[in-house]
């Protein structure tokens, strides 16, 4: 009976430990993905800003062709 109790308790312990780890891992992953997405968004904004400025420059330079 004592052995059975030990076995059952060890199973419960294992189950609890594995569940907690998964949750922690998911939280870590979510935090990482949040940061990555924020960086990606910023990079997209940067690209757009530079692209629009470059377009303005190109059209201003095209005006110089007629000089």
């Amino acid at each position: 009976m004592k052995k059975l109790n030990i076995l059952v308790l060890s199973f419960i312990f294992l189950g609890a430990v594995s569940c907690r780890d998964t949750e922690k891992e998911q939280e870590q992953l979510d935090a990482t993905l949040d940061k990555i997405e924020a960086v990606e968004e910023d990079l997209e904004k940067t690209s757009d800003e530079v692209e629009s400025k470059a377009n303005e420059v190109e059209s201003a330079l095209m005006e110089l062709d007629s000089i």
Binding site: L7, L29, V39, E40, V50, A54, V57, A60, I67
Partner: protein
């Protein structure tokens, strides 16, 4: 009794052993599958990007031709529609505000008059609650849309483990950082060529000014064009400088984020 317990112990031991082995095998197979899937996703994303790039170039060319003709008329049209929409939204907001105020006043009045009429007031509070719920729903929807934001891989791990998926997303972000750096370098080239062009134009106009019989007004117009181009070039230089720093910072952030994952 002892023998039975011993047998139960043995059975449980073997059961645990086989389950653990099976799980670890499945895990390693899953990892292999994950890698395959990762490669597949990456390939499909690259293919799609190439396809879209080609398409975008084509569209850009077509659009540039059309835009020039339509821009003037469309600008006016868009401006008008935006103004109308803004007016409409403003009116609606005012109306809602007024309604809310009236209802709050009514509720307060009724509450003051009779405590037994609480159920009546409850209807008004329901309206306010509904409004809150609606705005909350909209915010949630927006957040959801933002989280996906056109990224096919988004947060769908597929068969990959959390660690693998984190690495995969970090590698994609790194690629984006590199792409942005490349774009900035390309724009620096545009800047350099632009400066050269402005310099040539300036020399040309100076020669024209020196020549006898040059029209002062025409020269002034040309100088205006040159100064406008110069202004735009300076702005671009500023934007490139600022964003180079920003991209450097973002690269560091990605490095930091991917370090604990790796």
């Amino acid at each position: 009794m002892k023998v039975i317990l011993k047998n139960i112990g043995l059975v449980l031991f073997f059961f645990t052993l086989t389950t653990a082995t099976g799980y670890s095998q499945g895990n390693s197979q899953g990892k292999a599958k994950g890698k395959e899937k990762k490669e597949k996703i990456k390939k499909s994303v690259d293919d799609e990007a190439d396809f879209q790039k080609g398409k975008a170039k084509e569209m850009k060319q077509k659009g540039q031709d059309k835009i020039k003709d339509k821009a003037k008329g469309k600008k006016e049209e868009v401006k008008e529609s935006v103004e109308n929409e803004a007016e409409r939204q403003e009116g609606k907001a005012e109306e809602m505000k007024q309604k809310g105020k009236d209802k709050a006043k009514k509720a307060k009045k009724e509450k003051d008059l009779d405590d037994d009429d609480y159920m009546k007031n409850d209807d008004d509070f329901d309206v306010e609650d509904e409004m809150d719920d609606e705005s909350e729903k909209k915010a949630k929807k927006l957040k959801k849309e933002k989280s996906n934001n056109g990224k096919a891989y988004g947060r769908d791990k597929g068969d990959m483990s959390g660690e693998e998926f984190g690495k995969f997303r970090a590698s994609i972000a790194k690629e984006q950082v590199e792409k942005t750096e490349k774009e900035l370098t390309e724009k620096e080239e545009v800047l350099k060529k632009g400066r050269e062009k402005v310099k040539n134009a300036k020399e040309k106009v100076a020669k024209e000014r020196e020549a006898k019989g040059a029209d002062e007004e025409v020269i002034k117009q040309k100088e205006e064009k040159i100064s406008n181009a110069e202004k735009k070039l300076n702005e671009l230089e500023e934007v490139i400088k600022r964003n180079k720093e920003k991209v450097k910072q973002k690269a560091e952030e990605i490095k930091k984020v991917s370090e604990p994952v790796e």
